[in-house]
């Protein structure tokens, strides 16, 4: 309690230095969290696109109810299957018409009998990579009665390599950002502690133990880090809201439909913790340089 009071008094007595430190931590974390926000949203967009990785089994006749349920059962038994949807001839024609909206005349005279029936199989997330899809298709073809299978091989391959590239780029950029942030914040803290080295000297002159000298500084660092991260998240939320409200005026973008979302709770608490740790560890390493008790 004594140390907390001391830390708060120190903050009040060194307002300028504290404002600079909190401001630096805030801006540094804002950059990181802005990057995270964009990255998380790109990931979730990719997740939505990968729903399109689906395997379709075609039949040239309408299946009876019994055939349908027997095949559905066999397909579902293969690991990786998320959903199996039967598309009847009527359903297929309806979708076809839907795609040609405005040009329905083209379909005049087309009857549902000319279209194939099919099973559309949506795979679980982990099975949407190229290799897994190919393995799945091989197993699928072993089921008696299934001959024609389509899954857009080229698209799946391209999509997956795009995803991998994006993740690598994200990890690299994120890594550089984190290193830069740690460097900037630790140097700022080092300078603020340097500006108060008299205090450290006086404390050690009057016989303060290492713990007694460092505890208020460490608490101060923790408070600064926490304050910086809270402010950066508040600012990020402000930017996010501002973007959602104004996005429509400069890009064709519908926020509600795009699924553009704020950072999930785990990321927010992670950023708060990172801020607090940044302040604490920054102070700890800087103090080591200036205390020779």
């Amino acid at each position: 309690m004594f140390f907390l009071t001391r830390a708060i008094t120190n903050i009040r007595q060194n307002v300028f230095v504290n404002v600079v430190t909190v401001g630096t931590i805030m801006l540094a974390l804002l950059i990181v969290s802005l990057f995270l926000l964009v990255f998380v949203n790109l990931e979730s967009a990719a997740e939505n696109w990968s729903e399109r990785v689906q395997v379709t089994v075609y039949f040239d006749k309408e299946l009876t109810g019994q055939e349908q349920s027997s095949l559905r059962e066999k397909i579902s038994a293969i690991s990786g299957v998320s959903r199996v949807i039967y598309v009847s001839r009527d359903e297929a024609l309806k979708r076809f018409k839907g795609r040609l909206r405005g040009q329905e005349t083209l379909l005049e005279g087309v009857r549902s009998e000319v279209l194939p029936t099919s099973f559309e199989i949506v795979l679980k997330r982990a099975y949407r990579e190229t290799v897994s899809v190919e393995g799945f298709v091989t197993k699928l073809k072993q089921i008696p009665g299934i001959t024609e299978v389509q899954y857009g091989e080229e698209w799946v391959r391209r999509f997956n390599s795009f995803l991998n590239f994006m993740r690598l780029l994200g990890a690299l950029l994120g890594g550089f950002l984190v290193i830069a942030v740690v460097f900037i914040v630790s140097n700022t803290i080092k300078l603020t502690i340097y500006s108060r080295r008299d205090e450290l000297e006086v404390m050690s002159l009057v016989g303060a133990t290492r713990f007694f000298i460092t505890a208020p500084f460490l608490l101060e660092g923790l408070i600064q880090g926490l304050a910086g991260s809270i402010l950066s998240l508040a600012l990020l939320y402000g930017l996010y809201e501002g973007f959602l409200q104004n996005a429509g005026s400069f890009i064709t973008f519908n926020p509600a439909a795009s699924g553009f979302s704020f950072l999930p709770v785990e990321y927010l608490s992670g950023l708060l913790l990172a801020g607090a740790l940044l302040g604490f560890i920054g102070s700890l390493t800087s103090l080591k340089r200036f205390i020779n008790v």
Binding site: F2, Q13, V202, M203, S204, G207, A208, T209, F212, V293
Partner: protein, 230 residues
């Protein structure tokens, strides 16, 4: 109280700051260290409060050999030593009261006791009315009295002063000297490094002269004349 045996110290290999110092200062003594700039006065004082360790020889403070002291025990030793400097080393963002109270906070005193004892010493130093001002707003003499109050508030066994009157006018010098004498009367061993001849001549205390890192002269206290004049 203070013993140095064949103490030598060099900041760099070829430049010796102190050379073969043998010194004994008894409990309750008042000693002036003098000598030209660079003679080693400050270095010697720094050895006494454990800010430096000698390259060779032994330094004993109140029976403890500080050359063999574990770093974690140094703070405990420093609690029995008060130190004042020419530049006062005050914390300018804090008030007079806070600057002095820090010594007692370190010792773990309770709030009420800290308040009482701090105000008491500020009164002794004649600056109790300024307790709530930050030290920047004080004159040089007042600042040195705050530094002295910080050094003396816990009644240390030893008081070390490095050019304590260097920045002060004559009136303030006399006040500071009187505070040293009073502390000495109460039992504190006092060591003052200064090249202020007038201060030394007025006091009639034991005088140790350093030159180029060696003790070149020791003059014992002029008992009869000195005590009568005090």
């Amino acid at each position: 109280m203070i013993q140095l045996h064949t103490v030598s110290l060099a900041y760099q290999q070829d430049a010796s700051a102190l050379h073969n110092i043998n010194l004994h200062i008894g409990k309750g003594e008042f000693v002036f260290l003098t000598g030209p700039s660079g003679a080693g006065k400050t270095t010697l004082l720094r050895l006494l409060y454990g800010a430096l360790t000698p390259n060779s020889g032994q330094v004993l403070i109140d029976g403890q050999n500080i050359t063999r002291l574990a770093p974690s025990h140094l703070p405990l030793l420093r609690r029995s030593i008060g130190v004042v400097f020419q530049d006062f080393k005050l914390l300018h963002s804090r008030t007079v009261f806070e600057n002095v109270a820090i010594t007692l906070e370190v010792l773990g005193w309770g709030r009420a006791d800290i308040g009482k004892k701090t105000m008491h010493i500020l009164k002794q130093m004649g600056i109790e009315s300024k307790y709530n001002l930050t030290t920047q707003r004080l004159s040089g003499g007042e600042q040195q009295r705050v530094a002295l109050a910080r050094a003396l508030v816990n009644d240390p066994k030893i008081l070390l002063a490095d050019e304590p009157t260097g920045n002060l006018d004559d009136a303030n010098k006399n006040q500071i000297l009187n505070i040293f004498k009073e502390a000495n009367i109460r039992g504190t061993t006092v060591v003052v490094a200064t090249h202020d001849r007038r201060l030394i001549d007025q006091s009639h205390k034991r005088l140790i002269t350093l030159s180029k890192g060696e003790i070149v002269e020791q003059v014992e206290k002029e008992t009869a004349r000195g005590d009568q004049n005090e």
